[in-house]
């Protein structure tokens, strides 16, 4: 067993935004409050890795005048859970060799490394990233923009922003609210042929809300469910 790691955030570091914790309780921090510490248990990442990752995804999908970003949506927690689950260890990828790291792009990623290994190495290369200025951080990201790790990081950032909150990101459906996506609502039979040319924006609902009382089975929990 590895030592339990936590992502420790202080109120000062995240400003007046919402942080989601694993027990699915929101903690609202106002900037007027005294710096308060939140400890979020991590499943795969170390605390240091989580801080670097949070800084990196915040530059990919920043918190700015257009709205909250990846840090506020809990993308770090989303990625941590994905890495800890079957996807992180390539449980459903074809992993027999020979591998071909330099394969033409039409053949997709042909390397051997699992997402866990790619993150571990990629975050190591970004050591100290969380202590750089935003301008320096952008320069650093530009240097790795063409790497498979950045492509993965970019893809996972969008997944963490816009997947159902059951997966740990998209806290309070922040991502869905940014684009006006209402989530998995069951019916638009009364609306599909109306609202032409006008924004129709029903209040978003998550899977947990449309199926109250049902225990959900996100893919990342597959290993736990098998063993229990």
């Amino acid at each position: 067993m590895r030592r339990r790691q936590f992502l420790v955030l202080t109120g000062a570091s995240i400003g007046g935004t919402i942080v989601y914790s694993l027990d699915r309780r929101f903690s609202m921090l106002s900037s007027q409050e005294k710096p308060k510490t939140i400890r979020i248990p991590l499943r795969f990442l170390t605390e240091n890795e989580a801080l670097i990752l949070t800084a990196a995804v915040s530059r990919i999908f920043p918190n700015d005048e257009s709205g909250p970003g990846a840090k506020e949506a809990g993308v770090t927690i989303f990625i941590d859970r994905q890495l800890a689950g079957p996807w992180g260890r390539d449980a459903h990828r074809y992993t027999h060799g020979p591998f071909a790291e330099d394969a033409p792009p039409e053949f997709g990623y042909q390397g051997k490394a699992t997402p866990r290994e790619m993150y571990r190495a990629g975050l190591k290369d970004l050591a100290g990233f969380d202590r750089l200025s935003p301008e320096e951080q952008d320069k650093k990201l530009e240097q790795i923009e063409k790497t498979p790790f950045f492509a993965l990081l970019h893809k996972n950032t969008l997944e963490g922003m816009f997947s159902d909150p059951v997966h740990g990101g998209n806290v309070d459906m922040i991502g869905w609210q940014l684009v006006g996506f209402p989530g998995p609502r069951m019916s638009y039979a009364e609306d599909i042929d109306k609202h032409f040319g006008e924004a129709f924006r029903p209040k978003p609902m998550s899977l947990a809300e449309i199926m109250p009382g049902r225990k959900l089975h996100p893919f990342e929990d597959e290993d736990n469910e098998k063993s229990s």
Binding site: P62, Y94, E106
Partner: protein, 587 residues
């Protein structure tokens, strides 16, 4: 190896075609039928509702074939080494009872009426020189008149909506004027219209084309099908293609065929059962297969003897199982001899994306909400002065957009694909992107084929199927011809800026194309041209039938399921009415 008592029939694979055959045999014969399916049971309605989850069921392909167990390898030409598709992206074959039919988009067009005689009709109109060099397009051994009654029957079984344009030669306003003559109207009217339907229809009409509502196997009203099963109308929830229908409006094998099969005492379904070989007598000229070996859910290897075998395990495994079993002659691209593996085709897909001034509410919709036009289909337009044959359909579809996939498309003025500027532009345009799409024919070539991979293996140590496939000049020239038309349509729909669609390069595995892969065990009028006769019966082994799109000599722009089911039903009739009375070759 454990040997089980013999049964009358074994069906390998429980998707649309295998289950249709099981239902027919269960209803019309006293035969004992065993279905062997590698995957599990279909998802329940509650599980399908929980499956309204873009991450797990689109990004992570949770309902599809598990690549850690089995995949395919791919290369562009016979001179290259193939590499495995390590994660599914460009096509998404299903697994389990219902197969890909449990997550399809349910588009339900018929083929063009001249498709079954593609080679003859092309030569008749343009001369033999018009057939592209290196192409192996050929006739199917059936005609429109043979297949049409079965299209009509299957539309009543699944529940298909649409607007007819040609009933027995009588032209009808608002339908497809270029469709083959239909014997009957659609069982259901088109669905409700989304904003994009109106935009596409107006644009197409303005440009002088003939738009019509798309046909799909989705109920638009509460519908009782030809077997008495009642299913509800579509709710336009936006989770349609790639997802299972959580209300049962979309036809799935599990809501259309399985309820009937479950009442049949002669049909037994064994899930978790992966067939490895079809056993046969190699000595006899007109040989017979004797059964199959499979690994059951506990890992034990089983021999199941049978008098009659139906192979219906999708294009890849239909071809692979014949090759692994040595049931016929493998295609050799150098000599052109042999038939198993030849005429591998996919489907051409290209879309124009435009930015609109007004919001589109793209999260709503489904397989029924869309408009199509056939003005550039097949041989509807004259190809005399063009450097390609055939064509495809154009459409404006409101299929439901989800944000992981849909976010991040921005005008060309935005250079970086991350950071504040990109985020802001992505948000601004998120719900204002639409356009016209093109779904085109992929003709067959001598150089596009399947064989067994010499390097990569599945979990049992059997070779994976190897795809040798690339796009050729016919597809390149066709798409170059269509791109300006797609952009013109998209502008006429009201787009202020249209992104230039990509031209056809090399075949790629990194972008979703379609899950319509055909060929490998093709049907033909003679045994030197195909593995199967026009009743999908193996030319050499008369008690072996192969069902599915692997029987298609080439792809016909229209999505394949309507034709898969029509040909399967035709085979079921021939087996019940003729074969069982006098077992042997039907041709």
């Amino acid at each position: 190896m454990k040997s089980l008592p013999s049964v009358d029939v074994v069906i390998i694979g429980g998707g649309w075609s295998g289950l249709l055959m099981a239902k027919e045999l269960g209803a019309r014969t006293p035969l004992s039928v065993v279905m062997l399916e590698r995957g599990g049971k279909p998802r329940t309605m509650a599980e399908l509702a929980e499956g309204m989850d873009e991450l797990d069921y689109y990004s992570r392909t949770r309902a599809q074939q598990d690549c850690s167990q089995e995949t395919v390898t791919i290369r562009h030409s016979a001179a290259d080494n193939a590499l495995p598709i390590r994660q599914l992206v460009n096509f998404l074959p299903g697994t389990g009872i219902g197969g890909s039919g449990e997550h399809w988009g349910a588009a339900y067009p018929r083929l063009q009426h001249d498709m079954f005689e593609l080679r003859s009709k092309t030569i008749e109109r343009y001369g033999a020189k018009k057939i592209p060099q290196n192409s192996s397009v050929q006739d199917w051994g059936v005609t429109w008149a043979d297949v049409e009654p079965y299209y009509a029957r299957m539309e009543k079984l699944l529940g298909v909506c649409g607007k007819a344009g040609n009933i027995d030669g009588k032209m009808l306003e608002g339908g497809d004027p270029f469709e083959g003559p239909r014997s009957t109207d659609f069982p259901m009217p088109p669905g409700k219209r989304a904003y994009i339907c109106d935009l596409f229809e107006d644009a197409a009409k303005k440009l002088g084309y003939h738009p019509f509502p798309t046909s799909s196997a989705i109920n638009t009203v509460t519908f009782k099908n030809s077997e008495g099963i009642v299913r509800p109308a579509c709710f336009y929830c936006g989770y349609c293609g790639f997802y299972g229908c959580m209300v049962g409006a979309k036809a799935h094998p599990s809501n259309t065929l399985l309820p009937i099969i479950h009442k049949q005492k002669t049909v037994t379904i064994r899930t978790g059962s992966t067939v490895r070989r079809i056993l046969h007598d190699t000595s006899a000229k007109n040989g017979k297969v004797s059964g199959v070996t499979y690994i059951d859910a506990t890992g034990e290897e089983i021999f199941q003897p049978a008098d009659l075998v139906f192979l219906s395990s999708w294009t890849f495994n239909n071809t692979r199982l014949l090759l692994l079993s040595g049931a016929g002659d493998a295609y050799d691209p150098a000599s052109g001899k042999g038939t198993i593996g030849r005429n591998l085709t996919h489907q051409v897909q290209v879309s124009a994306q435009g930015f609109f001034a007004r919001p589109l509410n793209r999260f709503m919709g489904g397989g029924t909400t869309g408009m199509r036009m056939s003005d550039f289909e097949g041989d509807v337009f004259d190809h005399s002065s063009l450097s390609f044959i055939r064509g495809g359909s154009m459409s404006g579809l409101a299929g439901g957009a989800q944000p992981i996939t849909a976010f991040g498309v921005v005008p060309s003025s935005v250079k970086r694909r991350w950071g504040s500027e990109w985020k802001k532009a992505s948000m601004e345009y998120y719900d204002r992107i639409a356009g016209a799409g093109f779904t085109g024919e992929h003709i067959a070539y001598k150089t596009n084929f399947m064989d067994l991979d010499p390097v990569y293996k599945d979990r049992f140590g059997d070779p994976l199927i190897r795809l040798t496939i690339d796009w050729n000049d016919n597809e390149r020239n066709m798409v170059d011809f269509m791109i300006p038309k797609l952009m013109e349509l998209t502008k006429a729909m009201g787009a202020t800026e249209v992104i230039q669609p990509q031209r056809v390069g090399h075949y790629t595995t990194t972008r979703y194309q379609t899950t319509h892969v055909q060929g490998g065990t093709i049907m033909a009028g003679s045994p030197d041209q195909g593995v199967l006769n026009p009743y999908l019966q193996h030319w050499q082994y008369s008690n072996l039938f192969v069902l599915g799109a692997s029987a298609f000599p080439q792809q016909g722009s229209a999505n394949p399921t309507s034709t898969i089911l029509a040909l399967t039903q035709r085979t079921a009739d021939a087996v019940v009415d003729r074969y069982l009375k006098k077992p042997g070759p039907l041709v």
